[in-house]
């Protein structure tokens, strides 16, 4: 429900107000009719005192008829209230449908992105997929991808969107501070984990292959039309954190593995092992 909807009277409130006014006017009309009928009866009857003691059969019939009309109108009002309630239910249903559509779209984005990662066989393809997801799906204008070199204990810049990676210095792997909090989780990032925001970056996203830190992405700026992270972004960050880490590691291993054709016995030994 939008803020405008919340501030304006609902259809149910409007209907209730209308019915209240309707019945008040109806009561006034009935009272006026009874008074007018009584006035006419008195003016026509020669013995006013006798006539005033009882209502004429005509007046009784009219009151009865009017009471029946009131009952019918009340019944009709109940029906209108029921329909008004259904209209509100329809609005809730539309909101729910829209929410499901959004969720459907977010899941589709995750599906497409994960498919791209699984199809990436080289580091270049992993980097291209990361770039396309961050640029097109999240709305990131500039980021730097650092790779972790455990032998030297540093993170070095490998790829930068929105600039030259050479403009970014190597970083010693931090041991304290927001960056250390973001990188030291020991598994792929999940929604709710530290964002690692610093003066240099809106977020530092660790890239993991299992429990092995492969690198990190520093998100430096958004596209002009985007101002903040959205709920759907976090799902994509989870995906990037786990899949791109594995993708980079796999591409590295593939690049350095000895070429060996598949052999039945050798691959069968890997099953269940």
């Amino acid at each position: 429900m939008s803020r405008d909807d919340a501030e304006s009277p609902s259809l149910r409130d409007q209907t209730q107000a209308f019915l209240h006014e309707f019945f008040v006017k109806g009561q006034e009309l009935i009272r006026e009719l009874i008074e007018e009928n009584e006035r006419l009866r008195k003016s026509m009857a020669p013995d006013a005192a006798q006539s005033a003691s009882t209502l004429s059969p005509t007046s009784v019939e009219m009151v009865g008829r009017l009471m029946r009309q009131v009952e019918e109108l009340e019944h009709e009002a109940a029906e209108i209230r029921r329909i008004a309630g259904n209209v509100q239910d329809d609005a809730s249903y539309r909101d729910r449908l829209q929410s499901l559509e959004d969720e459907h779209y977010n899941l589709a984005a995750m599906y497409v992105a994960s498919g791209q990662f699984h199809a990436a066989a080289t580091v270049d393809e992993v980097l291209r997929t990361v770039t396309e997801i961050l640029l097109n799906f999240v709305g990131v204008a500039a980021f730097t991808l650092f790779v972790h070199d455990p032998s030297r204990g540093v993170l070095f810049p490998l790829w930068r969107e929105g600039g030259d990676p050479a403009d970014r210095p190597e970083l010693p792997r931090p041991t304290e501070g927001p960056l250390a909090d973001a990188l030291s989780i020991g598994r792929p990032w999940r929604t709710g984990d530290a964002m690692g925001a610093t003066d240099d970056g809106l977020m530092h996203l660790p890239l993991y292959a299992g429990t092995n830190l492969v690198g990190m992405i520093r998100i430096e700026s958004f596209l002009p039309q985007k101002s903040d992270f959205s709920e759907s972004d976090y799902g994509l960050f989870e995906l990037i954190s786990g899949h791109s880490g594995i993708g980079i590691e796999n591409a590295w291993i593939r690049e350095h593995a000895k070429a060996k054709p598949v052999e039945r016995q050798a691959i069968e030994q890997l099953v269940g092992g």
């Binding site: 097109n136 709305g139 039309q225």
Partner: protein, 136 residues
């Protein structure tokens, strides 16, 4: 703009061409457009691929990215507006370029509408429906 029925395909649906060099982005645009039952969607990898498809199929609407290799989206718009067969076909730009001058430039070249990334599916669907005069 509403296209006449003789321009619909054999299935009675209108033809849409999505031109986008990023495979995941192209898939997401196609996914969004799949919610419009009146549309049959064809994908093109870039501007050159788009021209090839436009030569063999009549399209009722074109949704294109700007930043693409060889033939970018703005050049594609310019080419189409100079083509008698496509000078009136609605073209929607979907791009990361969010600056107002980029929007004005695209519209001046003949694009009908302009959507910036990251896209929201309802926005794309509403824009295509509105452009084609389809009921919401």
């Amino acid at each position: 703009m509403t296209r006449s029925s003789d321009q619909t395909n054999a299935g009675g649906r209108m033809n849409a061409l999505v031109v986008e060099d990023s495979p995941p982005m192209r898939k997401m645009i196609v996914f969004a457009l799949s919610r419009i039952r009146e549309l049959s969607v064809t994908e093109a990898d870039d501007g050159v691929d788009a021209l090839r498809r436009l030569a063999s199929t009549r399209f009722d609407i074109i949704i294109t990215d700007i930043n693409m290799p060889i033939l970018d989206g703005l050049k594609l718009v310019k080419r189409l507006r100079a083509d008698e067969n496509y000078k009136d076909v609605p073209i929607i730009i979907i791009t990361t370029e969010g600056a107002e001058e980029d929007r004005q430039r695209a519209l001046a070249l003949g694009a009908n509408a302009y959507i910036t990334k990251p896209i929201q599916a309802p926005q794309v669907i509403a824009m295509v429906r509105e452009t084609l005069g389809l009921p919401g």
